[in-house]
Amino acid sequence: MSTLAGALRAARPIRLPLPLGILAGGLMLLVLLAGTTLAPVLVPSSPEAQDLNAMLQPPSAAHPFGTDNYGRDVFTRVLYGAAIDLRIGVLAVIFPFVFGALAGAVAGYLGGWTDVAVMRTVDVITAIPFLVLVIAIVAFLGPGETNILIAIGVVEWIVFARLVRAEVLREKNLEYVAALRALGFNRWRIILRHILPNAIAPAVTYLASDIVLIILTVSTLGFLGLGVRPPAPEWGLMIAEGRTFLYTGWWIAAMPGFACMFAGIAFILVGDGLADLLRVRGQ
């Protein structure tokens, strides 16, 4: 152990202008965005174009990711699928972020019954495992993009509420808040214009991780048949459809997963980099 530790200690640290995370992750995101916007130019055919004479073909020059059991080009579908998963990921995080931050700030600042009410609701929702609850809600509402947004909105806000509330509890005891109160500022004004901006940092850094979680949840729902409707090229749906062909066409299930992983890593790196940045600034 000592020789290993010695050798590791001797290795040089890496120096960069911005945290490595933001650079690498940002680059990956750019690639994804470019891919989705330029899709119609990059791949001439539609993701739903069937060619029954080219069923289940392995990856080749003509079809870099192979074809599925309808003869559809998997690369085209993965590219168009990026638009779906990314869109839902970003859209689905808006309501939880906004509503959660507000709820957390109000609960934290006002305290008393408001706090109890909000936090008990949070506890009840937390008690039920996230995926189980989302599955139950989507099963109730029915599959489809809008319903997924609703289900995630209903469940995911609690995380942001908790994060913001913790910060607000710390903030509200600071001197400037007492000063504002003494000056007779309306408490909503205090919450929204003064406290919230200072309390929002941890929630912002969590945004990126949450987008990843949402993309994974959308894929899982698609996999279970509760997500976006076929024949949309949503990644989770494609993996589920590919399951039947693990023997005869493993690329159908494998490729969308790699794409999902790529997107996920991009967001995580950006999120981590942002956290590092804020931590350095904070010090």
Binding site: N69, Y70, R229, P231, T244, Y247
Partner: protein
């Protein structure tokens, strides 16, 4: 001397152990392991219509007469002889004297009458099978007499239906529904010994079964392996000796495997598209005809069955008696389809909503293919996957437009499907809402006409009328796919679906 005695003793011990060892007949395995894609849930013959339930209890229960393998005739089961009176209204069945339930009790006509009366009276999916029956009686311990309301052509078919299984009156007369569903007692080759619901169903030989030497293998395990890949892997790794429904896409891979035998068993199945004809635009017959002409059945057969199926012509499955081989049915004709849509007066593009049960891969594939095909004539099909419960409910409530579904004849007679598919009273015409007086008349004549040739003409007319009215789009006839280890012999599957395990032996 002592050595000789020792050798003799050892040999004797070996023989003794050999006789009582768990191997059944010498050189064969004592257990059959069979992987199934759907689990049995409830084994009550009268109330259940799901195949996994039926095919499981068919190893345990018997009927008066059984359907033959080809699906076009009958063989004796519990009854050895049967005859009809000249006026066609009285049927007499003679029971074999040596049949016994797994409790040891003999099967008597009292058991038959009780079971059949229950099937006749109880509100269930098979009540129609004994609708023609006025009364059932047992003049003696081995005779069962049916008195019909009027002469009924499909009577024998209906009586052979699995829901008319003979249960032990003594055991079940005052039993709860739960008992009948979970603890069947029958006279067939097997009896239920252990049931891990949702996992495995274990049956052992009925010691009182009257056919000596049957079942050839004394123990049968039906293992629930819902995932297609896992089921095939289980077969290839030797975990199971056979599987049902290996996916069509894997058949060529399996055929290349020297250890595996693939069977394509003729079936009484047909895959079709239900259309809700009660609402626009599907209430317009030209729209429906256009859809039929726009459907490329050969392409569907290629992409769903990988060539193993037959494109559909008639509404009847191809193995049904009185199937019209010369029927002039729909073929792919896009020009005609577009022309019909124009003539219909309904403006394109037309949007139609299709529901599918998301567990059914073949239906999903077919629907996705139809979407691409119908898009060529300006019909936009939107797919809505639902779980089984919601899909069933929506279909029954006629809350859908398009629904790809499948049917299997349960009796070797066209009347079952004809009535379910075109008679509004029975099931709202297979939940399409179709109503036709002409069709109703044909259905009624069909069950009353005892002369075979005249009956054939009636059903030929019916098949033609179905083409003309086009309330459904018929897609293909699919065989049952089975994959077995080459060491398995004697496996048989009836055209109506049920497996027969009593003759199966698995070599070591």
């Amino acid at each position: 001397m002592r050595v000789r005695i020792l050798i003799a003793l050892v040999t004797a011990a070996g023989l003794v152990f050999g006789l009582f060892s768990p191997t059944g007949a010498a050189g064969f395995k004592p257990v059959i392991n069979f992987g199934v894609n759907r689990a049995a849930e409830d084994l009550d013959p009268v109330t259940q219509d799901a195949n996994p339930n039926i095919w499981a209890y068919m190893q345990i229960y018997q009927e008066l007469i059984a359907i033959n393998v080809k699906g076009d005739g009958f063989v004796p089961d519990l009854a050895t002889k049967w005859a009809v009176s000249p006026d066609g209204k009285t049927w007499t069945f003679t029971l074999r004297p040596d049949a016994r339930f797994s409790t040891g009790d003999p099967v008597t006509s009292a058991d038959a009458v009780w079971s059949l009366q229950r099937a006749h009276d109880m509100d269930g999916p098979w009540k129609w099978a004994l609708e023609s029956v006025q009364s059932i009686s047992a003049p003696d311990a081995h005779t069962v007499v049916f008195t019909l309301k009027e002469p009924f052509a499909p009577f024998l078919s209906d009586v052979s239906l699995f829901s008319n299984a003979i249960l032990s009156e003594k055991v079940f007369k005052s039993a709860t529904h739960e008992q009948i569903s979970t603890k069947p007692i029958g006279s067939g080759p097997f009896m239920l010994t252990d049931w891990k619901k949702g996992e495995e169903l274990v049956m052992k030989a009925n010691p009182y079964y009257y056919v000596k030497g049957r079942p050839r293998t004394p123990e049968l395990h039906l293992r629930y392996i819902p995932d297609d890949n896992n089921r095939v892997i289980a077969l290839q790794s030797g975990d199971v000796d056979g599987v049902d429904y290996p996916p069509f896409s894997l058949l060529s891979t399996l055929r290349r495997d020297p250890r595996i035998d693939v069977q394509l068993n003729p079936s009484t199945a047909v895959q079709h598209v239900l259309l809700n004809v009660t609402a626009a635009p599907l209430n317009n017959i030209k729209v429906r005809e256009a859809l039929s002409y726009a459907t490329d059945r050969d392409a569907i057969v290629k992409a769903v069955c990988y060539g193993a199926c037959t494109p559909a012509t008639s509404f009847l499955p191809i193995t049904t008696p009185l199937f019209d081989k010369q029927l002039k049915a729909y073929t792919l004709d896009l020009t005609k389809a577009k022309q019909l849509l124009q003539e219909s007066g309904v403006p394109t593009p037309i949007t139609l909503k299709a529901i599918i049960w998301s567990g059914n891969t073949d239906a999903e594939t077919a629907t996705t293919l139809l979407k691409a095909m119908w898009a060529k004539i300006g019909v936009n099909l939107q797919i809505e996957p639902l779980d089984r419960a919601t899909a069933t409910q929506r279909m029954r409530a006629l809350d859908y437009q398009v629904d790809v579904s499948g049917w299997t004849n349960d009796v070797p007679d066209p009347s079952e499907l004809a009535s379910y598919e075109f008679d509004y009273v029975t099931a709202k015409s297979y939940h399409t809402g179709y109503k036709s007086d002409a069709m109703d008349a044909l259905i009624n004549k069909g069950v009353r006409e005892l002369d075979l040739n005249k009956r054939r003409q009636i059903y030929y007319q019916m098949q033609q009328l179905a083409i003309t009215d086009a309330p459904l789009v018929w897609l293909y006839y699919a065989p049952y796919t089975i994959a077995l280890n080459k060491k398995v012999s004697g496996f048989v599957q009836l055209a109506t679906g049920p497996w027969i395990f009593k003759d199966v032996a698995v070599a070591q």
